[in-house]
């Protein structure tokens, strides 16, 4: 029950919320992840410590866990930034609205083509149609990598770093063309390092390093390995 307390942001006074913020800022990322998973498990089991269990249970089911939302928000904010409680809840609501929005658009395409199952391609198509073009290329890279790992699930060792490096290298080959959407590597190298430090974790430092590598390669667009030619039109981020 104590582990559930940090995630009960609803109906709590601001002072306790600030304490929770301190806890989040002090905890390293892996521990936070494990705690989040445990918290989610507790919520899924129906253990509710709120005064209004039914409303909170239903409300929790239609929103993403707020701790996950806050962690992602903090990735991009300066270390001294604070997030008000209404901002956290607003982002939660925006995420659920976004899922419904994209799903509805993808479902319309399925119905027009007389299909019953929404696929990843339908989701990507919906995002490009709804104005989120700059999400499509990174998501294409991500889902291709996900499929590669799923395909090699039986043979490859998932936790082994060399396989991850090979995977990343493979995707790196796909990057080519001028990088209009990316900043020049020289002055941003220092900036990206600071960004990694500000985001507060060695995990994101690797992302920063990866960014530098990409800048040196000059990659600005990605080609689909598994062949989705319909999405090549959004190679540029602008």
């Amino acid at each position: 029950m104590e582990r559930g307390a940090p995630f009960s942001h609803y109906q709590l006074p601001k002072s306790i919320s600030e304490l929770n913020l301190d806890q989040h800022s002090n905890n390293p990322t892996p521990m936070t992840s494990s705690v989040v998973v445990a918290g989610a498990g507790d919520k899924n089991n129906g253990i509710v410590v709120q005064q209004q269990p039914p409303c909170v249970a239903r409300e929790q089911d239609q929103y993403m866990p707020i701790a996950n939302v806050i962690r992602i928000m903090r990735k991009t904010l300066p270390s001294h930034a604070k997030i008000s409680d209404d901002a956290k809840e607003t982002i939660q609501e925006c995420v659920s609205e976004y899922i419904s929005f994209v799903t509805g658009e993808a479902n319309e395409r399925c119905q027009r083509e007389q299909r019953k199952t929404i696929t990843a391609e339908d989701i990507l198509w919906a995002m490009s149609k709804l104005g989120f073009d700059n999400y499509v290329d990174p998501l294409t890279v991500f889902i291709n990598r996900y499929r590669e790992i799923e395909t090699d699930r039986g043979s490859a060792l998932r936790g082994e770093p060399p396989s991850l490096r090979q995977t990343y290298g493979g995707n790196g080959i796909g990057f080519h063309g001028p990088s209009h959407g990316l900043p020049p590597p020289g002055p941003y190298g220092y900036g990206m390092l600071d960004q990694s430090m500000v985001m507060g974790g060695g995990r994101y430092y690797q992302n920063g390093s990866s960014g530098q590598d990409e800048s040196s390669v000059g990659g600005g667009s990605s080609s689909s390995i598994n062949g989705m030619p319909a999405f090549d039109h959004y190679g540029q981020y602008k």
């Binding site: 992602i72 994209v102 989701i123 998501l139 991500f142 990343y168 002055p187």
Partner: protein, 212 residues
């Protein structure tokens, strides 16, 4: 409320050519946050970090529970079935959305602090409201976040995806003033006559004339 930073800030000028010179008085009167970054909330940097999320090496650890994503997807009665990959993809897309919204909202947080002549470091709902009002692609959030009447929405013709901003915005000018000056939409909305706007105008004039 702790304010223990802002004394050792360094501002790195952005290498891309800017039509406006950065206002030195602004940075003297308004200390920047405690990071030394080349304008991390510009559209280029925003797209860069969104792209970085797609390159994450950890594709097995999902940021959000897939069962809950599937439940939200199926809350639409017309949705029948979804493949196993769809919630995985949406989980990553939600990370990008949160990153996108947070960066845009923080831009308004800093701007709001500048207008009230004291640094603001708390992201609030009104900052999110201003950010979602400004970008055309967030129109679908109208039921979730109220519109900010003091912000002009990007014209979808001038800024099709809301990613290309006027140059002044990149160097930290108020978004709506800059939008009105450098890229006015065809149908200019009339500003409401509220005291807040008066204060903003006064602050802006004072800042530009160097009275501060």
């Amino acid at each position: 409320m702790e304010e223990n930073n802002g004394n050792n800030n360094h501002y790195l000028p952005q290498p891309s050519s800017s039509q406006l010179p950065p206002p030195p008085l602004y940075y003297q009167s308004m200390p920047l946050p405690s990071y030394s970054l080349p304008l991390p909330y510009s559209p280029q940097m925003r797209n860069y970090w969104i792209a970085q999320m797609g390159n994450a090496t950890d594709v097995k650890h999902h940021a959000f529970p897939l069962t809950r994503i599937k439940k939200i997807m199926k809350s639409n009665p017309e949705v029948n079935m979804v493949t196993a990959e769809a919630p995985v993809l949406i989980s990553k897309a939600c990370e990008m959305l949160i990153l996108d919204l947070t960066m845009r909202s923080w831009l308004h947080t800093v701007e709001g602090g500048r207008q009230t002549l004291k640094r603001s470091d708390t992201l609030t709902r009104s900052d999110i409201s201003a950010a979602t009002t400004r970008s055309f692609k967030f129109t679908f959030l109208g039921d979730v976040v109220p519109r900010d009447p003091s912000v002009v929405t990007d014209d979808p013709v001038l800024h099709p995806d809301g990613e290309v901003l006027p140059p002044g915005t990149v160097i930290g000018y108020p978004v709506f003033d800059c939008n009105g000056v450098y890229a006015s939409p065809p149908q200019m909305q009339e500003w409401p006559a509220v005291p807040g706007d008066g204060e903003e105008a006064a602050g802006e004039i004072g800042g530009s004339s160097g009275g501060n």
